[in-house]
């Protein structure tokens, strides 16, 4: 029945698939980690509001509006375009042997040759995820009863103490399901970075497919791997939710 399925292709390219899987997982982890970190600040930044006093305008101009613009841009343009923009335009501006803003000289050359695509891919996925995670944080924070904020402030806690001790701990539980979804989206979207030559799972499949002109085996195989990881992630989130429900 399955005789048409040429497992030998998978076996032959096994090391490449394994390497690709490792890269895919690394990209996802980096994206989730930095996306959450940056997303937290952006999410709070988007709704930061000082009603009066000397901080009113600085907060609005330097925190609230930039956060809103960032989120709007990264949610409103295709990730694929963002990857190309970052890889071919932004990163060369920052890392360049002659005129890089951040890194120059031999080190820039080495970095670009060895890790160029990975840096771009990880950066694009993190920046993109941050915008979506920021919205998750914003929604989570705004879902907490206003009375919680008022009670904390009425005791003399400042804005940051209130966020850290009262609002975020309560919001986090509500944010777990959408955060899990975002991790799953990120894992799947990481396949797009194969376009800039980064050897992750989709790239491995494309290589194997190209060599044999067989498309079922490699793409079905990586579909299966993606599916396994997403199911695992869903289950992990489910367990976490249960754990937090009891506490």
């Amino acid at each position: 029945m399955l005789s048409w399925f040429r497992t030998d292709i998978i076996v032959e390219y096994w090391p490449l698939f394994l390497e690709g899987l490792k890269t895919t997982l690394e990209l996802t982890l980096i994206g989730v980690f930095f996306g959450t970190l940056l997303g937290l600040f952006l999410g709070i930044g988007k709704i930061a509001l000082v009603e009066r006093g000397p901080w009113k305008w600085p907060v609005k101009i330097f925190v609230r509006i930039p956060s809103q613009l960032y989120i709007t841009f990264f949610r409103g343009t295709p990730l694929f375009v963002q990857i190309l923009l970052i890889h071919f335009a932004l990163v060369p501006l920052l890392i360049h042997p002659d005129e890089g803003f951040l890194i120059q000289g031999d080190w820039a050359l080495l970095l670009k040759r060895e890790y160029g695509a990975f840096i771009s891919g990880a950066l694009a996925l993190s920046l993109n995820a941050a915008a979506y995670i920021a919205e998750i944080f914003r929604a989570g924070i705004q879902s907490i009863d206003k009375g919680q904020f008022e009670a904390a402030r009425s005791l003399g806690l400042n804005y940051f103490q209130t966020m850290k001790l009262i609002i975020i701990p309560q919001a986090f539980r509500r944010m777990l399901p959408p955060l899990g979804n975002e991790a799953i989206t990120l894992l799947k979207d990481s396949s797009l970075v194969s376009a800039i030559g980064l050897a992750e799972l989709a790239y491995a499949a494309r290589t194997a497919a190209g060599a044999y002109s067989r498309y079922w085996e490699p793409y079905l195989f990586i579909s299966f791997i993606y599916l396994l990881i997403t199911l695992g992630l869903s289950y992990g989130v489910h367990l976490l939710e249960r754990k937090f429900k009891n506490s």
Partner: protein, 240 residues
């Protein structure tokens, strides 16, 4: 303790406080009564700047509440507030709720803060509930914890925003008893309430508010016995 001059507050275009003027003395207990929507709660919330006033001046102790330069966190650490809906922190036990502000605002050691919190829980009659989470407590018990939480900061001024309005009738008494025990114990108190019996019994002066203004100020005897203003009389005749 409190001086309010020409206080104005708008929600959008709607003016909810129109030129409020009053003074409240040290250790005085004042009840604010009036129909719903008269601005009682808004007035109270202006006193610790939970609502930002758009006009006028508020002086609480040495703090100019309405001055943008005032350190509101410092002001609020001297002003306790008890809310209609308790607003306990649901992810913390009763003890943790009470210890939070002394530890993170006053930088008290955990040990000292817990000692004090236990004392306060005893005072509100909930010693055995220190490890309970808010959802495990009845409404009356939650509100008593909330009062203990406000007291933990040793406030000179206590604000009560309809502290018994969200309670089942059988629990109103236990909360009012706690508030009564605090009255005239060296704290200034402003209580927005619909409990006329409580107002009559406990407070030094009653403020009657209607349509964003303080219409009448007097002792409970004056207000409940022989109000001069027509609106006060009509309000009281409806609810008494």
């Amino acid at each position: 303790m409190i001086q309010v001059k020409g206080l104005q507050k708008y929600f959008g275009k709607k003016q909810v406080l129109k030129d409020i003027n009053c003074e409240i003395n040290d250790n005085e207990v004042v009840c604010v009564i009036g129909p719903s929507g008269s601005g009682k709660s808004t007035f109270l919330r202006c006193l610790n700047a939970l609502e930002v006033a758009q006009g006028g001046e508020i002086l609480v102790d040495q703090f100019k509440v309405t001055d943008p330069e005032t350190d509101l966190n410092l002001l609020r650490s001297h002003v306790g507030m008890v809310f209609q809906r308790f607003n306990l922190f649901p992810h913390m036990t009763a003890l943790e709720n009470i210890c939070l502000a002394p530890i993170s605002v006053k930088k008290m050691t955990r040990q000292k803060a817990e000692e004090k919190a236990r004392e306060l829980l005893k005072r509100v009659g909930l010693s055995e509930k220190e490890n309970s989470y808010p959802h495990e407590l009845s409404g009356g018990q939650q509100q008593r914890v909330a009062i203990a939480r406000a007291l933990a900061m040793d406030p000179q001024l206590l604000l009560f925003d309809e502290p018994t309005s969200a309670l089942d009738p059988e629990m109103v008494g236990e909360v009012l008893d706690v508030i009564k025990s605090l009255a005239h114990g060296g704290k200034t108190m402003v209580v927005v309430t619909h409990e006329m019996g409580f107002a009559k019994q406990v407070c030094d002066r009653v403020f009657f508010m209607d349509a964003g203004q303080i219409i009448e100020i007097g002792t409970p005897q004056q207000i409940f016995g022989d109000a001069t203003n027509e609106r006060t009389r009509s309000f009281l005749s409806k609810i008494l």
